[in-house]
Symmetry: C2
Subunit: 344 residues, 2 copies
């Protein structure tokens, strides 16, 4: 309390290597060193070599606070982490993907978890007004996501995991959900399913709409009955299990099910199994898979994989190019679903 011994001393002249250190070592001025390190072409080659060598020898790394204060550049990208629990290890995979992509760059990653059920603009507002990052990655994007609107208005670099319906184009990377739904329906049709059901969490993301639309269209084309059970995102696992149980016992039990979430698939399968349904025989189930662990548990089930690690990497690459001023038209990409059909 009284004696605050930890003085939080400013990084004094003791250990830290700064431009000044290099200047003193080479006998050049501080400005020259700075200029040289940033690749000043007006400098003599000899000088540049000398500076580079000294910098390397001393292990110089530019001070982030100095750069940031002077230039406004934070060298930080922010990941706004949605609280949704649908994919196993979504956060880890995404973060690893991002981390892998910023290796060797000057960027750091800060993660801001969201707690609300629906994304708020609060976090984004904070980042924008305090210039706390150079760019933002958001996930679980909605069709008219207010966060996107906000960043478009502010002309702030960002990339969304998921598309939107805004007129103004923006950088995004997304899973090709339409293709996912189409693949799944076709697969079920091949397995002679006549009455299928899509179990999906209505979490107001764009993906939700894309999946439902494509699902209906593909089923209609294949001439099979296609129901939708939506709003399952709100259900806690135990209730999701009940859904499976009820479904198993229902007189109009579907013969094919498509599930868009790993977590909900687990609960659903638990309920179906308890209800006496043999998956892969009486009911075929196809689920979206992201973690690689579920196939070991459900080898008898088909799945379609979304690569979250890869998505994290791609989102980062897009964002960094966006920060560097690349045209938006080059910053939009889709990831193709990877079917994992059981081998029989």
């Amino acid at each position: 309390m009284s004696s605050k011994t930890t003085v939080t001393k400013a990084s004094g002249g003791n250990g830290r290597v700064t431009l000044k250190t290099i200047a003193e070592m080479t006998g050049l001025s501080l400005s020259t060193v700075s200029l040289s390190l940033r690749g000043g072409t007006t400098l003599k080659q000899e000088t540049r070599d000398k500076v580079n060598e000294a910098a390397r020898a001393l292990g110089y790394v530019p001070d982030r606070a100095g750069v940031r204060l002077r230039t406004g550049k934070t060298n930080v990208i922010a990941l706004v982490l949605d609280g949704a629990e649908d994919s196993i290890d979504f956060a880890r995979s995404m973060i690893q993907g991002i981390g892998h992509a910023i290796r060797g760059t000057r960027y750091h990653l800060t993660v801001i978890p969201e707690f609300e059920r629906h994304p708020t603009t609060e976090t984004i507002g904070y980042i924008l007004s305090n210039r706390t990052a150079d760019g933002v990655i958001i996930t679980h994007t909605g069709p008219r996501d207010p966060r996107v609107q906000m960043m478009i208005d502010a002309d702030f670099p960002f990339v969304s995991h998921g598309r939107t319906e805004f007129y103004t184009p923006h950088a995004y990377h997304d899973f090709h959900s339409e293709e996912f739904a189409a693949l799944a329906v076709k697969r079920l049709a091949e397995r002679d399913c006549k009455d299928i059901m899509l179990v999906i969490g209505d979490d107001s993301t764009t993906n939700y709409q894309n999946i439902v639309t494509s699902y209906r269209k593909t089923a209609a084309r294949a001439g099979i009955e296609a129901r939708v059970l939506e709003g399952t995102a709100k259900l806690p696992p135990a209730e999701m299990r009940q859904v499976g149980l009820k479904l198993a016992a229902a007189p109009d039990r579907p013969d094919g099910i498509i599930s868009d979430s790993e977590i909900r698939t687990i609960a659903l399968v638990g309920g179906l199994a308890e209800g006496g349904v043999t998956l892969g025989r009486e009911v075929s189930l196809i689920y979206k898979q992201t973690s690689g662990i579920l196939p070991t548990l459900f080898p008898q089930m088909d799945s379609i994989r979304e690569d979250i690690f890869g998505a994290g990497g791609e989102l980062t690459r897009l964002l960094l190019r966006r920060i560097d001023g690349a045209p938006i038209s080059e910053l939009q990409s889709l990831a193709e679903p990877q079917p994992h059909w059981r081998s029989d």
Copy 2:
């Protein structure tokens, strides 16, 4: 290339609210404003009120770069995220826990994913030499973890998720693994198991040793056979499934199993089920559970819960107090395992 239009302008005098803005507004000097905002007691109450009001009205937030440059304080805590896949959604829960605990503080969270199988000191070295954070949280701590050694030597604030065997005490929060093992063994003994097996990933963490030791001791006391199947952390899910399959068919099949990992439990159960084992009857299985999703899939199995969200919060609170100079002896805590016994 040629025309770099995005000038990355320094946050010019246009919008940004700084001490200067408040100074001009109140007619006080910049120094006074700064002093006042930091609670200078030598100032007249009237002055302090005036400053506070202006700051509030303008929505002043201290510039991180300015503070950091001047004081060396980054207001950042770094989470070194282990690449291990054992708990479902470990990363999300941990990050949410941390995020919740730093709400309302000035701290930001940066996450640094590790890719190597075993933790390297590289990341920590970088943080230490570049003063990139005020404190570090590490997870999956080993008994003589080199990262811990490094930070102890540098007297750098950190907290580990997991204990160590170092002589010098340091801040930690840990799951009470010994208690976990003891609870699990006793439960199996109550269920009349005579020959149990611990399936555990030898991932060189302290927890591993604690669990094995306590497991053996408790089993000996209960007078039952206790085997250990270790080294499962290295196995990919498909092979883990094979382990379950072989175990099911083995002549000396155990009648009780304890598993320390959610992910491996899933694969193991997949294999056991394929091998025709009815869990909860022929074999009792108890697993460490962190995500809340597995019980919906395996309602017939006992589990013991570790609260990762809570751990994230506790780790953060300990770290912040460590940064503020609290004595180490107050910065060590254990989390009690929470048994979830099936209700029959």
